[in-house]
Amino acid sequence: MILTLFAIVTFVFFLSRITGNPFEREFQSTGITEEQKKELMEYYGLDKPVVQQYGIYLRELVLHGNAGRSLSRGGVSVVALYKDAFKMTLKLIIWPFLLAPIIGIPLGIIGALKRNTIVGEAAMGVAFVGYAFPAFVIAIGLILIFSYWLGWLPTMGDATLAHYILPIVSLLVRRLATVARFTRSSMLDAMTQDYIRTARGKGLSERVVAYKHALRNSLIPVVTKLGTAFIGLLTGSLVIETIFAWPGFGFTIVSAVQARDFPVIQFGVIITATIVITVNLIVDILYGVIDPRIRTEA
């Protein structure tokens, strides 16, 4: 696990050095003085061999928590930059993360239990359509309708509560659809199991059979999907934050890529990988808590 992280850091680092001095572009740009150039070269040790640069970077990162300074944002510490950005992103992401299961799971259950009725098909129809629209398309559509035509909601920044709505909805739709579809298939799967037949054979009502026996079993895999959902939200934020000028994690990375701001990009990748690995770990542990079968194999 740490190994993977390590590999990723190394990978990104050397990758960015492949095309020569990563700061070449900056150096070409007009806004930089000789003084600043020299300072940068010294700070990053660009005159030293690559391996040594790597060593310096690692040392700084691990021992001092210093990941360099941003090139495109006037030398702000990368770590500080990300700290603020992350807070912003969390404020946004927490909503779709909570709302998607709250709305999606019941939707999926309806879709499963009322399979061949209008209600069930409608529920799944909604989920289906929602799934087909990539987040940014939804974002555009929503902007068009709610900002331009109706003038109800603002689009840029994060000033008021109203500013939250459009980005949240854009992120929410697809996640919700995914959760609903997955819950439904998981539920259907559970309903065909032998123990359901036993439960019916005992003369338990359909309600008990479905909500007590089937549901608990079908929710287990859904929980693990929450981890994926969180990561998906993070990547979704890349686009959505850019559209809505929401100064968060995604926005930072994208701008950094656009500006070839390598220190920022590097650290962004490292953070993302760390988060992914951590989330997976948490999901594994959660799985053990929820499924009694795994528990006793400890």
Partner: protein
Amino acid sequence: MTRNIESSKNDKKTQETSSESTVHYIDTTGPAKAYIRKKSFWAKVRDLRLSIKISFLVLIVLALMTIFAEWLAPHNPYEPNLQARNNPPSLTHPLGTDYIGRDTLSRTIYALRTSVGIAMTGVIVGTLLGATLGIAAGLFKGIVDRVVSSLIDFFYAIPNILIVLIGIAVFGTETWVLIALISFARWHSTARVVRGQVYSLVTVPSVEAAIALGSTYRRVAVKHLLPNLTSVLVVDMTMKFPALIILESTLSFLGLGVQPPIASLGAMIGDGRDYLISAPLIALSPSLFLVGLVMCFQIIGDWIRDLSDVRQFD
């Protein structure tokens, strides 16, 4: 022992009564045969859900549009016409014009072609790469497997977009970079799936026998494994294609994908963002195509997956 067998034809069975010497017939003239109707191909086609048929139709239409773009587009999609900027739909320009006067309809058609082309290349290259590595891992096992598996886990740990973003940051935004990166973006899903399948296939006696008898690995791969892999690969490719299209669109939308003047669906949507009020069609028509494409693939993908699913929910 049985002696008196009377032939009283009753419909009802009266086994339990205490009539000692009667023997009863039970009528079994009920249905005694089953019949099989094999459905013809066209009958099976007719049985498909409406949504699947529509999806196929739409995909065929879109495919045709992609191939025959040059004949279909009324104007040159790259030719600006500064006199006619952001025009609403008219006879000459059915979908209006964009901000430098290019015909939206033509651009959309070409954008479709670009996006589909890139995604298609990505799917093919990614599948080839992933399948080869997956087969290698499953067939040779040992170190090869460990290396490949680690690579797969590694790539799974970083979200797609990020990989591509780094690549772009490093290599720039030329088209070939884009194509290469997108191909890379999803190889691991194929690899993992193929590897799993190969693993379960390799223990099948016929394959083990072939290996034991000395067939070269290549021969084993081709003759034994490939046929069984097709279903898995088809499902995987059907899932990959919309994913790659969305990936490319997202990137182009952010300005990091195809560069102007080349049009792709995502790029047009991104461009059109600034002109949503004045010329909404610039963003809307490619959106329509994009969503349509994804939805059709989704429907078909679900259907294909249902086909290989043995469970019956009735």
